[in-house]
């Protein structure tokens, strides 16, 4: 019966949640968009696109504390702005990666990442190429699917998987290199 009760609720509760987030963090959102795009109209579009993306993730956003919610809103705007910049500059999407390069996504259960810890993993992610780092954040922080990432980056879904696979491989290389030095 409970799900039926929830269905009687106005989805306005979710809308009120997003409205409040927009009111709270609008300054950072617009400022972030302007920093990337340097153009008011394009920045406004990016914030609008970001709000639509946020609407799809309300159930996830509700589990966040304030700092994490704020970061999610700002990073979503940043990614939307970068996508808009990419479209504006008419960049060609990355060439289709060889499908045979999908390989493993670091499925080796050697505990390397557990030994490294969050701080070192964070620093290693920062050392990845810009696009790979962005895709990692989209997957693991914004919890986007391959299709969603593909839509936002202009890549094919299979290319997204390849980028993620490469990113994890590079991460492991960085971390095991550091471990060997210790």
């Amino acid at each position: 019966m409970l799900p039926l009760v929830f269905l009687t609720m106005e989805p306005g509760d979710d809308r009120a949640f997003l409205e409040q987030a927009y009111l709270d963090y609008h300054r950072l959102m617009y400022a972030q968009a302007l920093r990337v795009l340097r153009d008011d109209a394009a920045a406004e579009d990016a914030v609008s696109d970001a709000l639509l993306s946020l609407m799809k993730k309300i159930s996830l956003l509700r589990t966040f504390d304030r700092n994490k919610l704020r970061a999610y809103c700002v990073i979503t705007v940043k990614h939307a702005a970068i996508s808009a910049l990419r479209r504006r500059q008419k960049e060609h999407p990355a060439a289709e990666d060889r499908l045979s390069d999908t390989a493993d996504e670091g499925r080796v259960e050697d505990g390397l990442m557990e030994r490294a810890g969050v701080e070192r993993i964070k620093e290693a992610i920062r050392r990845l190429p810009e696009q790979e780092m962005r895709i990692m954040v989209m997957r693991y922080f914004r919890e986007m699917t391959d299709g969603e990432i593909a839509q936002e980056t202009g890549l094919q879904p299979v290319s997204v998987r390849v980028h993620l696979s490469r990113a994890r491989k590079r991460l492991r290389e960085i971390l095991s290199g550091e471990e060997a030095q210790l």
């Binding site: 509760d13 009120a16 409040q20 504390d65």
Partner: protein, 266 residues
């Protein structure tokens, strides 16, 4: 694999948080002003987009009726009594209440005078794990008259420890904002804005490129960094572990900074 994914999530969340913190710390007055202008210009359209279309009424009534019938049946079978008129199913359960206080679009408790232009205050919002309160939204007390210097005074709803005690004539309070360790009050006069900001901890200072900088003494003995650009003057100083900032026209800055006083106990 699950543990690895968890670690990657935490690491990416940290990256996102740090980037956001850095953006917040590095914003210049010009960027803040431009962002606020964009917000004022596009706020209504953005809120309309968020609100979107409402569900068709008949669907909601159908779900409500089905829920009522099931509840009635359950109560009858369990207790053998008739259902009361006012059933819980007709009201949303408490857990579904949005975690935030009343949205800023709700009407404030005070009615503004017809000659004033008001922007609803943005209230401090609790984290989703906090229990929502039924307290009314904090209200603005707009004024066209200078705040009297005698006795420590502050605008209603101000949560910071410090507040300017006197402003030049003609400034009207526009909004108060309390968020993430920062309290901001904004006044306006003839299209120019005056901002007073209190940070709950000592903050690094972001100075606009090309700004003229020098140190000036304040009446209470503090030394403020004074930065001046074509857009105006900003005075920044620390007091008791907090950073205070006044941003406004050149002529008014020192006077306003000089009468900032402590208005609340810690």
């Amino acid at each position: 694999m699950k543990k690895e994914n968890e670690l990657l999530r935490e690491a990416c969340a940290e990256i996102a948080r740090e980037e956001t913190e850095q953006l917040d710390r590095s914003l210049t007055m010009e960027e803040i002003r431009r962002a606020e202008d964009m917000y004022r210009e596009h706020r209504d359209a953005a809120l309309r987009k968020i609100r979107g279309k409402r569900h068709t009424a008949w669907r909601r009534y159908l779900y409500a009726a089905a829920a009522l019938l099931l509840l009635a049946g359950g109560v009858y079978l369990t207790w053998g009594r008739t259902m009361p008129d006012n059933t819980p199913a007709s009201k949303p359960p408490a857990a579904s209440v949005a975690p935030y206080l009343t949205p800023a679009a709700a009407s404030p408790t005070e009615t503004p005078s017809p000659t004033e232009t008001r922007i609803p205050a943005v209230t401090e919002t609790p984290s989703p794990t906090e229990r929502p309160t039924s307290a009314p939204m904090e209200t603005i007390t707009p004024t066209n008259t200078p705040v009297p210097a005698a006795d420590s005074r502050k605008a209603e709803g101000w949560e910071g420890l410090y507040f300017p005690q006197a402003l030049p004539e003609g400034y009207a309070l526009k909004y108060l904002r309390q968020e993430d360790g920062r309290h901001t009050a904004a006044w306006a006069r003839d299209g120019r804005e005056l901002l007073f900001t209190e940070y709950e901890s000592v903050q690094p200072v972001a100075v606009e490129a090309g700004a003229e900088c020098r140190y000036v003494p304040l009446p209470d003995g503090s030394i403020a960094l004074r930065t001046e650009t074509d857009a105006g003057v900003m005075l920044i100083w620390d007091r008791d572990g907090r950073t205070l900032c006044v941003a406004c026209e050149k002529a008014d800055a020192e006077e306003i900074a000089g009468n900032v006083k402590k208005v609340s106990a810690e």
